[in-house]
């Protein structure tokens, strides 16, 4: 059972459950004040505006009691995927390094983005080849990845960058960077490859009826567990 944690203000939780079910997973929404089901085999932190983005996107949710249970599950090897607001929660709670903060444009951006697969040797990217270009929607006001030099080098040297924003041909350029993220980073791994966060929305590009299924491979990362 993949638990999709629903905070007050989450709004991609239903989409996530539907996409995961379409991939053949059992998934259900779990209200953040309830405890994780005993048969939890994966955890998704969905997109939205938990706690109205008070203080900073994800800041409040990151300190909510259910995150203690999420930490315990991570210790036990349970995979965790944070998407958009869930990625902000991941960084705010220290599950992943760095921070997702105000877009360089200072605007909320809802558009399609191209991503280059940087490391295909992870559960979340094994459906792709390194260098593949996929297209996923983004919808965020605070998606600019920030991290200090040391942290960035650590991510690079450990091959923990999953995706970078790029153009249609896979060129990682400033023009193709929608939000000013350092190194065009769109998604990263935690200390362990079982934890991943990304700002773009794979669950919004997973159902064949919607035309774009590029995100299915990311969600399929729960399979390896």
């Amino acid at each position: 059972m993949i638990a999709v944690v629903q905070f007050g203000g989450s709004n991609c939780d239903r989409d996530a459950v539907r996409a995961l079910e379409d991939l053949g997973f059992e998934a259900e929404r779990v209200w953040h004040e309830d405890s994780l089901p005993e048969d939890t085999t994966g955890i998704m932190l969905p997109g939205g505006f938990s706690y109205g983005d008070y203080l900073r996107g994800g800041a409040m949710a990151a300190r909510s009691p259910i995150m203690e249970s999420v930490r315990e599950e991570i210790e036990a090897g349970t995979p965790v995927l944070g998407v958009c607001n869930g990625a902000q929660v991941g960084c705010e709670s220290g599950l992943t390094p760095g921070a997702f903060t105000t877009n360089a444009s200072a605007r909320f951006q809802c558009e399609h983005a191209y991503l280059r697969v940087e490391n295909a040797d992870t559960p979340w990217t094994q459906a792709y080849e390194e260098g593949d270009v996929i297209e996923l929607p983004i919808a965020h006001g605070e998606g600019r990845f920030e991290i200090d030099d040391e942290g960035y080098e650590k991510l690079e040297s450990a091959d923990r960058i999953l995706f970078r924003y790029c153009d249609e041909d896979g060129n990682v350029t400033e023009e193709a960077n929608p939000n000013g993220s350092r190194g065009n980073v769109a998604g990263i791994l935690g200390e362990s490859a079982s934890v991943a966060v990304l700002m773009p929305h794979p669950e919004r590009a997973a159902l064949p009826t919607l035309g774009n299924t590029d995100g299915r491979g990311v969600l399929a990362g729960f399979e390896g567990y």
């Binding site: 203080l55 900073r56 800041a59 300190r63 960084c91 705010e92 390094p97 760095g98 921070a99 903060t101 105000t102 877009n103 360089a104 444009s105 200072a106 600019r144 920030e146 991290i147 200090d148 942290g151 000013g180």
Partner: protein, 83 residues
């Protein structure tokens, strides 16, 4: 116990881009103001009872560390005064 007000000021670390401040600066310039730079800070005023000013400062420091600031992008400072 004495009641103190701990003022926690949170600001972006030097070198971290501040798009909202940049946008505000441009808006001021459009209004005809001349300025070199503009920075945002967030200021929290926390009223609390503590045995002494040091204890009040320690507790406010902990609050900044654990929630009010994000150490990846923020610096912060704490000042304490009797309320």
């Amino acid at each position: 116990m004495t009641t103190y007000t701990a003022t926690v000021t949170v600001r972006l670390k030097q070198g971290v881009l501040d798009p909202e401040a940049e946008t505000t600066k441009r808006a001021l310039e459009r209004l005809g103001f001349e300025l070199d730079a503009l920075r945002f800070t967030e200021r929290y005023e926390v009223d609390l009872d503590a045995a002494d000013a040091d204890e009040a400062a320690d507790r406010a420091d902990d609050m900044a560390e654990r929630l009010l600031a994000n150490p990846t992008i923020h610096d912060y400072e704490v000042e304490v005064a009797e309320a």
